[in-house]
Symmetry: C2
Subunit: 114 residues, 2 copies
């Protein structure tokens, strides 16, 4: 069994967002997806993003407000959201005091088709 | 974009453990893994489990104490653990008041090898 610690993971910052990429764990092809955590400070948001990979995001702390297309979805701690390939998205943390942290798994379309 | 709500998901109970299986969302082969949430009440634990699938678990609330082999690993909210194929495991919630909730993704060995 292996454990992956959010607090001590090697990180990088994109704007004020802490990103902990799972490449550092060198899991190779053990996982059928790639993964990362990212933490959005209170009052901040992720840059507009769009990519070919599908992305499943699980909120592990705080509440996410996800802007996708013309809609906003509130996703609470524990709950999840799935972005389709090339779907644009911005993830906001509307809290004034709590960090929003998301675990995200992503993979290329068709990868589930095995 | 689709959202998956932990609180309102259709559930079943295994002993006192609430299990919300993602089959209900009928994602078919969109995801390269199967998924579920499970919630362990304070002072309780999951039954001893062992299965061929690899399993990545993300703690979305509380702290997990995972018994695997002869070791115990404490895994805090936000952090994760990966069980290999056929690795035995019991997940304990040692808190006296907080529910432990885990998001779990699982897949057959070799499924990442695409």
């Amino acid at each position: 069994m292996r454990t992956f610690d959010l607090a001590t993971g090697s990180d990088q910052f994109v704007k004020d967002i802490r990103v902990v990429r799972w490449e550092q764990y060198e899991l190779g092809k053990e996982l059928p997806f790639q993964a990362m955590w990212y933490s959005v400070p209170p009052g901040s948001e992720s840059p507009l993003d769009q990519h070919p990979e599908l992305e499943l995001s699980v909120v592990v702390a705080g509440t996410a407000h996800v802007l996708s297309g013309e809609k906003v979805h509130a996703v609470e701690q524990g709950s999840a959201f799935l972005l389709s390939s090339t779907e644009t998205h911005i993830v906001q943390n509307r809290s004034t005091d709590a960090t929003l942290t998301i675990f995200s798994a992503y993979w290329m379309p068709g990868q589930g088709d095995v």
